[in-house]
């Protein structure tokens, strides 16, 4: 950074100081340097004199300027929609509106289950996906310890008799994007049924039940319990599994 003295020296050379300020500045300069400064000022003044020599605007150019201002070529002053700045702002607004509409429209697209999650097609695949296996109570305890505090009943004997035995076989807790997901694995009639549980605001589970993207004969069911959203999917009827959450 220049010192105050240096700044005042330049201001003096650029003739930016008043008389009193100039005298006060010169009083701080050694006498030997004063003549050098005076020489520089004289040099600057001589340059300024040369640069300031008159340079008349040719009449032909002035006539052109007047003509252009007077004729329609110059045109009237631009109206608001002709101004480049306003035009750019309007274009920006249009682009932003389109982008917002695009985002809104994309957010309205139904989320398909398989967009984010891999659904087990066989019991073996389901078993491979699960991290925790054990009896029903152990799995439910692990689910609740993971923050999913929702009621989950064990299949009753009647369920087993009627539906060839529904069995909870394991659990996996994982993150999908920003969402925390609990995956429960059930087996019914030898078929895998996968249950996904997320908070309501999660985006990885479909809002609407739409099984069209799944293999034919597959079932997809969903329900909401408190703050949780539960989706069950598999090649077997899922409503009895969903009925366990209540």
């Amino acid at each position: 950074m220049p010192t105050d003295m240096q700044l005042r020296q330049q201001a003096y050379l650029d003739d930016q100081l008043g008389v009193a300020e100039s005298l006060a500045f010169l009083a701080t300069v050694p006498s030997g340097d004063q003549s050098v400064l005076q020489g520089e000022r004289a040099f600057n003044a001589a340059v300024a004199d040369r640069l300031a020599e008159p340079q008349p605007c040719p009449e032909a150019i002035w006539a052109r300027l007047r003509r252009e201002l007077a004729t329609p070529i110059a045109g009237p002053r631009l109206t608001w929609w002709q101004r480049p700045l306003l035009l750019r702002l309007a274009a920006g607004l249009a682009v932003t509106t389109l982008a917002c509409w695009g985002l809104y429209a994309s957010s309205r697209q139904p989320v398909r289950l398989t967009d984010h999650l891999e659904v087990a097609r066989t019991v073996a695949q389901l078993a491979a996906q699960l991290d925790l296996t054990g009896n029903h109570d152990q799995i439910v305890a692990a689910l609740q310890q993971s923050g999913f505090a929702l009621p989950l009943h064990a299949p009753t004997a009647a369920d087993g008799d009627h539906h060839h035995g529904i069995k909870l076989v394991g659990l996996r807790i994982f993150k999908q994007g920003q969402d925390c997901v609990a995956q429960l694995g059930y087996v019914c009639c030898g078929q895998p049924i996968t249950v996904y549980i997320t908070r309501q605001n999660a985006t990885c589970l479909p809002r609407e039940v739409d099984a069209r993207h799944l293999p034919s004969q597959w079932c997809l069911g969903a329900q909401q319990i408190g703050e949780y959203r539960i989706v069950a999917v598999g090649p077997h009827e899922t409503r009895w599994v969903l009925g366990l959450f209540s």
Binding site: Q9, V36, G39, L51, P54
Partner: protein, 201 residues
């Protein structure tokens, strides 16, 4: 906000047209482009006339538009030449004896240089040249220059210091080549503190 009528605008232009023309002719690299630069600036000012408040500084407003057009015509930006990292230190090394003789009788020295002054002026950056012209010819203050050129006062001072140093160096070199100033040992000169020159504040 009161604005100028078309007639008032033309009248003010007519009043100041010579100084505006001189500024543009001195400031553009190619003198042939001066007419188009001035015409473009006048057209731009006319289109923006409703942004100019009647009774305020018409000259300063026009100089801002003219300067912007000069930057465009010279294909430069206002930041050009301000990078301290790329500063050529040798720029400020001057020949003491030649410098003394140049400043001893500057009128005679510049007379001998002839039109080389304008050639040397064109070797400055547009920012340096604009600052120098507006300060020395139009007598604007640092603060007014900062407003016209839309840059901080410290940057204006830096452009001025560099512009002056470059100009003097170019003229002294020219004079030595032409033989009307004796060459001497190149060194940083004594006297006024040269360390200010080229500093970015």
């Amino acid at each position: 906000m009161a604005t100028l009528t078309d007639q008032e605008f033309v009248a003010l232009l007519e009043q100041h047209r010579h100084e505006f023309w001189r500024y543009v002719v001195r400031n553009v690299w190619h003198p042939d482009s001066a007419e188009d630069v001035l015409a473009g600036a006048v057209q731009a000012a006319y289109r923006q006339l409703d942004r100019f408040e009647k009774g305020t500084n018409f000259r300063a407003w026009m100089y801002r538009i003219l300067t912007n057009k000069c930057f465009v015509a010279n294909r430069e930006t206002k930041r050009a030449g301000i990078d301290i990292e790329t500063l050529d230190e040798s720029l400020f090394a001057t020949d003491d004896e030649a410098q003394r003789r140049a400043t001893n009788d500057p009128q005679a020295f510049l007379q001998q240089c002839g039109d080389e002054l304008f050639t040397a002026l064109r070797q400055l950056s547009t920012a340096e040249r604009s600052c120098l012209l507006l300060l020395t010819i139009e007598h604007y203050s640092y603060k007014e220059l900062a407003t016209i050129l839309e840059m901080p006062v410290g940057t204006v001072m830096t452009h001025l210091a560099r512009g002056r140093a470059k100009l003097r160096r170019l003229l002294v070199d020219y004079a030595k080549r032409q033989g009307f100033l004796a060459a001497g040992p190149a060194a940083r000169r004594d006297g006024p503190d040269q360390s200010l020159l080229g500093r970015v504040s």
